[in-house]
Every structure is written in structure tokens, then in C-alpha cells.
């Protein structure tokens, strides 16, 4: 596989955009607006938001596995060591200083 073209590397801190628009959105509602860390860079894939409407899916988007603290997602300290892992595309993420 060719190297990923996305903006982020493993370990980068990111925030998921809170976007809501018509279409086929692959970022689940419960993770929008949450902050996490890039756990894994999967590579570049055809964009499912476009494939869903019969388009060619280009340009490709980099897909990451993003790790979130349990408390960030569920709002309590329960399972302090637990992570929530979600696959998220590059255009849904912004840099977190």
C-alpha cells in the first residue's frame, strides 16, 4: 500500500468535528466533538461519503484508528484504563494543541 497522505501521525492529539449535514456520514454521533489520539494510520481509502451516492469515491481519504479515554466519551471515570477505539477519516479530524 502506498504511504498515507493524511495530516496526522500515530500519537497526534486530535478533535473530532461536530458536523451534522445531509448525506452518508461514517463518524458516529456519540464521538463527534470528542478529543482523542491517533492510535493507528490504516492508509488511504475511497471516500464512503461519495461511494454511498454512486460516485467514484475520489479523492481518497486517510483512515485512522483514534483512541478516546473512556471518561471523554462516557463522562465518568469508570474504566479509567479503558479506551474507546473508533475508525475516523482525516476530514473529520482537527489538530488539538
Amino acid at each position: 500500500m502506498t504511504p498515507a497522505t493524511g495530516r496526522f501521525r500515530t500519537g497526534d492529539r486530535v478533535k473530532v468535528k461536530f458536523e451534522d449535514r445531509p448525506g452518508h456520514l461514517r463518524t458516529p454521533w456519540y464521538i463527534r466533538g470528542k478529543s482523542g489520539r491517533i492510535e493507528k494510520v490504516y492508509g488511504d481509502f475511497l471516500n464512503p461519503e461519495l461511494l454511498a451516492f454512486g460516485k467514484d469515491g475520489l479523492p481518497k481519504k486517510t483512515l485512522y484508528q483514534v483512541a478516546f479515554d473512556h471518561s471523554e466519551v462516557f463522562g465518568k471515570a469508570q474504566g479509567a484504563k479503558d479506551k474507546v477505539l473508533v475508525d475516523i477519516y482525516d476530514h473529520w479530524l482537527e489538530t488539538l494543541a
Binding site: 451534522d20 452518508h24 458516529p28 454521533w29 461511494l51 454511498a52 451516492f53 454512486g54 466519551v73
Partner: protein, 103 residues
């Protein structure tokens, strides 16, 4: 825009997830076969099927079982791509019903 009927992760009150295995009905296996055949022919993509299910009427979505949603989304995509018309599908359905007595 509101949260879609398919996007319910983390919502309270959804109840426990049913994790026991169950026997598939013949028609469910057939639904899978049709789905895979259409994919192999390049007629539909999984993303299109998902989008069709997301765009369904919410009450209908909630009332349907897993494979019923599959069938409904296959129908949507085939009509959308002018491969079958709604009238052709309904006509065939009537044929099956009269032949087998039960839908």
C-alpha cells in the same frame, strides 16, 4: 438535521444487545446471496446500501428485521439505477404470493 435512526450508539434505553446465534431462514440466506451477486456484478456498493437504509422511513426502519432492511435497500438501489421498476417488483411479488400462498 437530527441523529439518524441507524446511529444509536451510546443512547440510553436501547436495552441489551442480543448476542445469541440464531438459525437463518432460507429467505435471509437468499437475501445475502442476492446482495453478494449484485456486489460481484458491480451493481451496488456496501456504502450505497447503508445510505439507502439511513434514508428509509424511520418507523419502517425500526419495524424491520436486519435482513428485511437489506431487502428494502436492495430494492431502493435497483430502482434508483433503473435496473428494475417498482411496478416490476410489485408484479413479481403478486406472482410469488399467488404461487406460494404466503409472501
Amino acid at each position: 438535521m437530527a441523529r439518524g435512526h441507524h446511529d444509536v450508539g451510546g443512547l440510553p434505553g436501547a436495552g441489551a444487545i442480543e448476542v445469541t446465534e440464531h438459525q437463518l431462514s432460507d429467505w435471509e440466506i437468499l437475501a445475502d446471496a442476492v446482495n453478494q451477486a449484485l456486489g460481484a456484478r458491480g451493481i451496488k456498493r456496501t456504502d450505497e446500501m447503508r445510505r439507502a437504509r439511513e434514508e428509509m422511513d424511520s418507523a419502517a426502519y425500526r419495524d424491520m428485521t436486519y435482513y428485511e432492511r437489506w431487502i428494502a435497500s436492495i430494492e431502493t438501489i435497483l430502482i434508483e439505477k433503473n435496473i428494475l421498476t417498482k411496478a416490476e417488483i410489485d408484479r413479481k411479488l403478486v406472482e410469488f404470493e399467488s404461487k406460494w400462498g404466503e409472501p
